[in-house]
């Protein structure tokens, strides 16, 4: 009853184990748990079959077959769960084909009592060969250890195979139990940890495997082992418990491993974060320094060293790009090196970098270039860095150069954080350079301005001055900045927009300077009033020039007045004696006629003529002087032509009679009106007619008037033609010269001043017209006056339009 009872207990325990592994497998889906579940299920069937046979419920052959088959499958499952070799496909095929297959055939042959030992030996050989092959394929094994293993495994196998001819049943048993032992070893190798579960399972598997050989040996030595069945079953229990413990240990280990992985990841992340933090901190420090300083170049060394240290590089530099023979080249402007942090490279010490065209082209596109040790080149001093990163710098929208970081110690991957940090450092440097350039541009404008510029805030405190202003006011810049603007400007300047007004600036020495002043409001982008911009130009010189001009004008006017006064006096002083001369001679003429002394009349007439000639000269000279001085005032009005002609004809009648001339007047009506000064028109016509009378004897003088059109305008044309002595071409040339008549003898013969034509022509020009002459000696002369026609009648044009005559040359 005892063995049955023992088997029931074993069966129950095994069933519980199977349930347990099933539960674990269902929970975790570990492939190992599944194999163990299958393995233990086989063991349960093994014991169940034996129990059924004990109670005589199944035939002995089936019981035997199933007992061994289940053991083989169970052992296989256990082995597979810890084998590395059978993880591969080929290993699995070999395992089933070379180990499990022959084992099943062997046992089947045994159950059906096949009596040929060669069959058993062959099958055992196949099993051994398969095992050896598997052992040989064991990965990461030195050939020596594999050979040792094979010797250890093959020796009992070969022994078993030799024995198989006499002890068929033990051959398979032996191999099966060797399989358990190997599984124990594999189990240990697989988990490789000194934990109770693994230790117990490994040793229990070993014990399970050794039970058979030991019992065989004991049987051979006739030694009786007490508690035979317990010894046979005990390793199974231990294996089961060990496996469960292993599983729990696995759980713990997985958990710990996960925690460790997470922790390590966290540590890595933290380290990266710290590095990034340091880098960002140094970049932002550099940003503050750059932004708070006037020139980027003063803070660049510090910036480079800060960032260089933070990024843990060997060298950091700012390089500028420039044109070179072969396209582009880059030169270091500032450099920081780990080995010589204090050394600043600049000026003539600037070295050229030999970055290739590929890198420079990438940088030009705005890309960050990161390189490793395989790159050829680098700084020309020889030892190339293991890795480098170049970040382009853009200034005012165009590529300026790059920020370079090189690491001589290690090849490194430049993390996104590092790239970001360096990129923002480069961006900031670029912005700073851009700002400085803009600043310098504005400064240059202010410096080159001739005008003095003051910028005040809304409280009228001076905030900025340009050099011109400092020169003008005699202050140094620091003496003005922050001072109230009232210090330099005399007038209290209201905050208003002014343009080009006169103001007075006060210099440091108290001198007052007249300035041309403009003020404008200065507003920021959002339209908020920021202050005022004052622009001033020194007017001292201008004022002086202006005063000189005024003086000169006064002097000129004074001179002109003096000249006019002189002319008036001359006229007055000449006329007074002339009055007596002409008056007395006229009186005398009357007296001598009364007394019958008529022989004296002719002489008296000569005195009168001379006096009147003198008077004519005086008048003409005055007219000329006035024309020359531009002091002739014309009263241009619309004049009806008809009365003008009639008037001229009437006036000249006494002269006609003198030389026996006839006057014909031709009018081509309608004549309308002309635009001119009545007195002057009359003077011109009288002059021409009297000339004609003078140089014609017993001839015909024609006065004609007509309206013509020339150059798109309407004109009134007067023509005075005579049949007198005429003029030669040479005489015509001298026609308008002062005091020149056709020749000197004519003056004696015909009288006249020789100024009349000249004056007439000037008057015509001043009235917008012309005077021209045609002549032929001995035939006569034709003088033509052309004056602008009036489209209006005389009533429509105001009579007080006064034209100041322009100064015109008297000589033709």
């Amino acid at each position: 009853m005892f063995p049955q009872f023992q088997r029931v207990v074993t069966l129950s325990v095994m069933s519980i184990l199977v349930a347990l592994f099933t539960w674990i497998y269902m929970r975790d889906r570990q492939p190992r748990a599944r194999l163990w579940m299958i393995g233990w299920a086989c063991i349960v069937v093994h014991f169940g079959g034996m129990l059924l046979f004990t109670f005589g419920l199944i035939p002995s052959r089936l019981a035997d077959w199933s007992a061994y088959a289940t053991l083989i499958f169970g052992a296989s499952a256990f082995f597979l769960s810890v084998s590395r070799t059978t993880g591969a496909r080929l290993g699995r095929v070999l395992f089933w084909a070379a180990l499990v297959g022959p084992a099943v055939v062997y046992w089947t042959c045994m159950v059906f009592e096949v009596a040929h030992p060669a069959v058993y030996r062959g099958l055992l050989g196949a099993v051994l060969g398969g095992g050896a092959w598997l052992a040989w394929r064991q990965p990461k094994r030195s050939p020596v250890s594999v050979a040792a293993w094979m010797a250890l495994a093959l020796a009992p196998g070969i022994w078993a195979a030799w024995r198989a001819s006499t002890h068929i049943e033990t051959g398979m048993d032996f191999l099966l139990f060797e399989g358990f032992a190997v599984t124990g070893w594999r189990y240990w190798r697989y988990f490789r940890r000194l934990t109770p579960g693994v230790l117990l399972t490994s040793l229990a598997f070993l014990a399970w495997g050794l039970v058979f050989p030991i019992s065989e040996i004991c049987a051979a030595l006739q030694v009786n082992i007490p508690g035979d069945h317990v010894v046979w079953d005990l390793p199974k229990y231990f294996v089961a418990f060990g496996m469960i413990m292993t599983l729990f240990e696995n759980q713990t280990e997985i958990l710990q491993r996960e925690i460790g992985v997470r922790k390590r990841a966290e540590e890595t992340a933290q380290a990266a974060n710290e590095a990034k933090g340091i880098l960002m901190a140094s970049v932002s420090f550099a940003a503050r320094r750059i932004l708070s300083s006037a020139g980027w170049e003063t803070v660049v060394p510090e910036t480079l060293s800060k960032i260089g240290v933070a990024a843990r590089v060997s060298r950091a530099y700012v390089a500028q790009i420039h044109a070179a023979k072969d396209g582009m080249a880059s030169t270091v402007l500032h450099e920081w090196t780990e080995t010589a942090p204090g050394v600043e490279c600049s000026g003539s010490g600037r070295k050229r970098l030999d970055w290739g065209i590929t890198e420079l082209a990438s940088l030009r596109r705005g890309e960050v270039v990161a390189t490793s040790a395989t790159r050829a080149g680098g700084p020309a001093d020889g030892d190339a860095p293991k890795s480098a990163i170049l970040v382009p710098i853009e200034v005012a929208g165009s590529w300026f150069g790059f920020l370079g970081f090189e690491d001589d110690r290690r090849e490194r991957e430049w993390s996104e954080a590092e790239r970001d940090g360096l990129r923002s450092a480069a961006r900031m440097l670029g912005a700073s350079m851009t700002r400085q350039r803009a600043q310098e541009y504005v400064d240059n404008i202010l410096r080159s301005m001739e005008e003095s510029l003051l910028v005040t805030d809304t409280e009228l405190q001076i905030r900025r001055v340009n050099p011109s202003a400092l020169r003008l006011l005699g202050y140094r810049e620091e003496e003005l900045i922050g001072r109230p603007a009232a210090q330099v400007i005399l007038e209290r300047e209201a905050p208003a927009r002014r343009s080009a007004v006169e103001r007075t600036y006060r210099t440091k020495t108290g001198r007052l300077i007249p300035v041309l002043f403009s003020s404008a409001e200065m507003r920021d982008g959002s339209g908020m009033l920021e202050g005022y911009v004052w622009l001033a130009q020194d007017m001292t010189e201008l004022k002086r020039a202006q005063e000189e001009l005024v003086h000169a004008k006064d002097a000129a006017e004074e001179a002109n007045r003096a000249k006019s006064a002189f002319l008036a006096n001359m006229s007055h002083e000449l006329r007074t004696p002339l009055n007596a001369v002409i008056g007395y001679s006229e009186m005398l003429e009357e007296v001598v006629i009364e007394r019958g002394q008529e022989d004296l009349v002719a002489d008296l007439g000569k005195i009168q003529w001379a006096g009147k000639h003198l008077l004519g000269l005086i008048n003409d000279v005055l007219d000329l002087a006035k024309i020359e001085a531009g002091r002739v005032e014309l009263s241009i009005e619309s004049l009806d032509v008809m009365p003008v002609i009639d008037d001229a004809a009437d006036t000249v009648r006494p002269l006609l009679e003198k030389n026996g001339n006839r006057l014909e007047v031709g009018r081509a009506e309608p004549l309308g009106a002309l635009l001119g000064d009545q007195t002057r028109v009359r003077q011109v016509l009288y002059n021409l007619l009297s000339n004609a009378c003078k140089f014609t004897e017993n001839g015909l003088i024609r006065l004609e008037a007509r309206r013509t059109e020339r150059k798109g305008a309407e004109w009134v044309e007067f023509q005075v033609a005579d049949t007198g002595i005429g003029m030669s071409v040479e005489q015509m040339d001298r026609l308008y010269r002062p005091f020149m008549q056709a020749d000197a003898s004519t003056t004696r013969k015909y009288g006249g001043t020789g100024l009349g034509l000249m004056i007439s022509r000037e008057f015509c020009h001043m009235m917008g017209g012309t005077l021209s002459a045609e002549s032929e000696p001995g035939v006569g002369s034709v003088f033509t006056v052309r004056l602008p026609a009036s489209t209006a009648t005389s009533a429509e044009v105001p009579a007080d339009q006064v034209v100041m005559g322009e100064r015109q040359p008297v000589h033709a």
Partner: protein, 146 residues
């Protein structure tokens, strides 16, 4: 005969004009400066005054203004006869109160025509019973130099 007062500082001019007018039958009195002229104008009540402009003591323009401002002498026509012959001088004389303007050297016939016109107008006034003319028998040269 109409009495003409000549106010003229230049001796020749004064003498010449006085004699020529006398020859034409005018009663002529003369003064050599503006002040004397005004006095004579009041004392003698001439029918017409021929006034030079550049005069000592009181010049012609001022004398004219005074005579024209005085009720007693306002009605006497004053003809300017001057060597100030510039265009503006005519206006200046007429503005001062002169009734006509002649330049030297004198166009004697023109002057006489102008005087006659004024005298004629005064004559018609006289016939209307306005006592403006007092007749004197002969030429009286008030100027001591004459």
């Amino acid at each position: 005969m109409p009495k003409i007062l000549i106010i003229e500082d230049n001796e020749s001019s004064r003498d010449m004009l006085a004699r020529r007018l006398s020859r034409r039958g005018y009663q002529v009195i003369a003064a050599a400066d503006g002040r004397r002229g005004i006095v004579l104008a009041h004392e003698q009540s001439p029918d017409l005054i021929v006034m030079d402009m550049s005069l000592p003591e009181i010049d012609g323009w001022e004398a004219t203004r005074r005579l024209k401002a005085d009720r007693a002498t306002r009605a006497i026509p004053i003809v300017a006869l001057t060597a100030h012959a510039m265009a503006s001088d005519r206006k200046k004389a007429m503005d001062a109160g002169c009734d006509d303007y002649h330049t030297k050297p004198v166009d004697f016939e023109g002057l006489v025509r102008s005087m006659e016109a004024f005298l004629e107008a005064r004559g018609s006034l006289a016939t209307a019973g306005i006592p403006v003319i007092s007749l004197r028998p002969a030429v009286r040269m008030e100027d001591p130099q004459c």
